[in-house]
Each structure stands twice: as structure tokens, then as C-alpha cells.
């Protein structure tokens, strides 16, 4: 029989492994207006951690060196103008998201998407930089035959004029003021776009007659999922569930003030359909630690008695 301490250590190790699958790294170098207070960063990090714990893909590193050069390109989130970063490198299993805020006009709360790039050098660097090991050929992540998605990262702009609520404890939404928009919910939504929902070719390759026909989402929804006219969101009001409780899906086009929308089973199914590998049950690391600690105490208690 294994010792209780070994079991507890194993559970904690499991927790650590689940928590480090993908790291979403936020870059604030575009935030020249100082929108991102520490509270805003904390809330954004919570949204990043959600996907970090959820996604279990292995993304290969991009290492620009010598004649192998990767240039990241994206719309600067604060100015909206094109920005490039030459000799760009990024670590394994890491995605970089440039964030900023500006006046987006109308009722737009945020906008986001994956970045572009230019790459030159020797193969296999050129191929590897485009696929990050997700598929053996670039055609697997780009174009009409794409069934997976690869990215270095992207950019998100938030509306600087919105009355935001930066929740410092996203485990509960009970403190969310009815007049404020939930920054956590919008951050999850925009990160969904960065990760390919409504933006990846593998998303568009799963669309037929204005409906999303990905097998995972269709199974969860009970058939093809209706989309908005732009084909980049679920149709307004589309429902999913969170822990068995119905909720309007995070990736439909709108949210009302004073409400929280986390990723539903339908939103997660879409991530699977566009190629992401997803942890079976996304449980916050703190919960794992708590449960494993209780389990260890239970085992020790039984042994003493």
C-alpha cells in the first residue's frame, strides 16, 4: 500500500502539472494610457489562468536567431495601428497577448484576435514557427484544410470609456454591481477570439449554412449551433451550461451590465472543435490543493486510529 504522504505529494504534483499546461502572458507595453491598474491586471490574469488551466496542448517555442527571424504583427490595442516586433521569440507552451484600451465607440466593450507574422529562415524553423508543433504541415493550421490552430498570441483592446468592474475574487460574482460591466467576462470572451473562436480557419471550416457544425459543439448543443450573421459568434442568446446550470454562452455577441458570463460547456466544446486539447474538468488549482490536503488529512487520520 502506498504511503499517505506519497498520495498527497502525487495529488499536489498533478495539480502543478494541470496548472502549467499553457501560460498566457500579457504584455502591457501598448498600455500607454495607463488603463491597466493593478486591479485590472489581477482580473485579466484570472481570465488568463482559466485558459491556462483548461488548455493542455504542447506549443513549441519560437526562437529567432541568426537567419531564422520571426516578426510578430498585430493591431496595437491602444492606437489601433499596425505594430510589428522583429526577432520575436516566445517560450514553449506560452502565448503572448498585447493588451491596451482605447475608445472603441458605440457599445463595443472589447475586441481581440490572433496576431499575424512574417517569418524567414531555414526549414524546419519556418514551418515550426507557423505550426508550433500542432500539426506536421502548415496546411493543418491554415486555410481550407485546417483542423487545428496555432498562434504566437495576439492583441486585445478594451473600451476605455466603459464603466468596468475589476473583480479581485472571480470565484463569486455576488459582488458585481448592476451598473458595471464585468471585466472578467469580457476578458474571457476576447481571449476566446485570440484562441481562435470566430477567427481561426479551423473555426470557419466547421461552418455550414450559417451554423457551427463542429462535432463537440453539436453534441453539447444537440445539433448544429446557430451563429450570428458575422459567423464569428454564437447567435445572441445561445445557451450552454456551467456545472449543469444553464447560462448564456460566453461567446455570443453581447453581455449586459451586472452579469457574469464564464465559459460554458458549449464554449469549451468550440475550443475542442478548432483543435485545442482541453483538460477533462477545469478545476482551479486552489481547489485541487484544498481537496488534496483534506484527502491527505483523512488518510493520516485513519492510519493513526
Amino acid at each position: 500500500m502506498r504511503k499517505p504522504q506519497t498520495i498527497v505529494a502525487g495529488l499536489i504534483l498533478l495539480t502543478a502539472q494541470q496548472a502549467s499546461a499553457i501560460t498566457i502572458q500579457f504584455d502591457y507595453s501598448s498600455d500607454t494610457t495607463g488603463f491597466f491598474s493593478q486591479n485590472a491586471k489581477n482580473t485579466l490574469n484570472a481570465a488568463g489562468s482559466f485558459f491556462g488551466n483548461l488548455l493542455t496542448d504542447s506549443l513549441s517555442a519560437i526562437q529567432s536567431s541568426g537567419q531564422n527571424n520571426f516578426t510578430a504583427s498585430f493591431n496595437d490595442p491602444t492606437t489601433g495601428t499596425s505594430r510589428t516586433i522583429d526577432h520575436f521569440s516566445i517560450a514553449q507552451d506560452t502565448i503572448k497577448v498585447f493588451v491596451g484600451a482605447r475608445s472603441l465607440g458605440g457599445s463595443t466593450l472589447g475586441q481581440g484576435g490572433p496576431g499575424g507574422y512574417s517569418v524567414s529562415g531555414f526549414n524546419p524553423f519556418v514551418t515550426e514557427a507557423q505550426t508550433r508543433g500542432q500539426t506536421s504541415t502548415v496546411a493543418g493550421v491554415q486555410g481550407a484544410t485546417a483542423t487545428d490552430f496555432s498562434l504566437w498570441g495576439g492583441a486585445i483592446s478594451f473600451n476605455q470609456n466603459t464603466n468596468w468592474y475589476f473583480d479581485q475574487d472571480v470565484s463569486t460574482a455576488s459582488d458585481l454591481p448592476s451598473t458595471n460591466f464585468d471585466f472578467y467576462s469580457v476578458a474571457l470572451h476576447e481571449l476566446g477570439h485570440v484562441l481562435g473562436i470566430g477567427t481561426a480557419d479551423s473555426w470557419f471550416n466547421n461552418i455550414s449554412n450559417g451554423q457551427f457544425t463542429g462535432p463537440e459543439a453539436s453534441t453539447v448543443f444537440g445539433g448544429p449551433v446557430p451563429l450570428n450573421p458575422g459567423l464569428d459568434h454564437w447567435a445572441q442568446g445561445t445557451q450552454g451550461t456551467v456545472n449543469g446550470v444553464a447560462q448564456e454562452a460566453a461567446m455570443d455577441p453581447a453581455i449586459t451590465a451586472g452579469t457574469r458570463k464564464v465559459f460554458t460547456n458549449l464554449d469549451v466544446a468550440a475550443l475542442k472543435d478548432i483543435g485545442w486539447q482541453v483538460a477533462p474538468v477545469p478545476v482551479p488549482a486552489a481547489v485541487w490543493l484544498f481537496v488534496s490536503g483534506l484527502f491527505g488529512m483523512f488518510i493520516l487520520g485513519r492510519k493513526k486510529s
Partner: protein, 139 residues
């Protein structure tokens, strides 16, 4: 707003023929492949234009050796060979192959642009290039 491509778009030096050897030192060449990914953008009237620049420094163009050579991007990857008079290439100088992806009819817009050091000071004469134009952000 995307800037506009200046100058004419004459196809002067580009050929989709096998790379000739330098043989008598009368010409030198740059060859390679270019893959362009436009996401869900309209792909009509898209061209890849190449030009060779002699550089004073890494960033300042001193001299453009030829007008842009342009080719329609009618397939995801194109292969190209550019020929230049060998006498124009000086070993002590730096050269950069500038690639622009442009779209449109009369008024062309640059969708993407990249520069790669080539030919001298240890840089190659054969290059593999890939460009992914960033998609429009989604709300």
C-alpha cells in the same frame, strides 16, 4: 490605414524558371519560396512584389537595384527567382530583399511587408518566407 505602394509595378526580373548558375559572373540571383496567409480576407487582386535594396545601414535604404517584380498570389505558396547584374552586388555592402503583399487594382494597398538580409556578409541567396496578415480583431 494601410499605406499605398508607391512607384510602378513592372515585372522586370522575375522568372518562374529553374535557377541558372552564376557561370560567367554576369548575373546573380535570389531564389526562394513565399507563403502568404490572408485569413478570411478577400484574396482577389493580391500580388507579391519583391525588390532588392542596397543598404547604408540595416534600416536605411541607400539604393533600390530594380523596380519591384510582382507576381499574382494565385496559390498559397509561390516559388521565385530574381536575377540581378552581378556587377551591382558589392561584397562589402548589405542587401535586403523587400517583399510586399499588395492588393487592389489601380490604387494598391500594402497588406504586409517584410525585409530579409540576403547575398552578402554570410546571408543567403535562397530564402524561405511566410507571411500571415493579421485578421481584423473581433468584438
Amino acid at each position: 490605414m494601410l499605406s499605398r505602394l508607391s512607384g510602378g509595378l513592372a515585372t522586370l526580373l522575375m522568372a518562374l524558371t529553374p535557377l541558372p548558375t552564376m557561370g560567367n559572373n554576369m548575373s546573380t540571383s535570389i531564389s526562394g519560396s513565399l507563403s502568404v496567409y490572408l485569413h478570411q480576407k478577400d484574396t482577389s487582386n493580391v500580388l507579391a512584389c519583391f525588390e532588392l535594396k542596397q543598404l547604408e545601414t540595416d534600416r536605411q535604404a541607400e539604393k533600390t537595384l530594380a523596380k519591384p517584380a510582382c507576381f499574382p498570389l494565385d496559390q498559397p505558396t509561390i516559388h521565385f527567382v530574381l536575377h540581378f547584374p552581378a556587377r551591382d552586388i558589392q561584397p562589402q555592402k548589405r542587401y535586403s530583399l523587400v517583399t510586399k503583399v499588395v492588393q487592389g487594382g489601380k490604387d494598391k494597398q500594402i497588406l504586409a511587408e517584410m525585409s530579409v538580409p540576403v547575398l552578402t556578409q554570410g546571408n543567403p541567396s535562397e530564402v524561405n518566407l511566410a507571411i500571415s496578415v493579421p485578421p481584423e480583431p473581433v468584438e
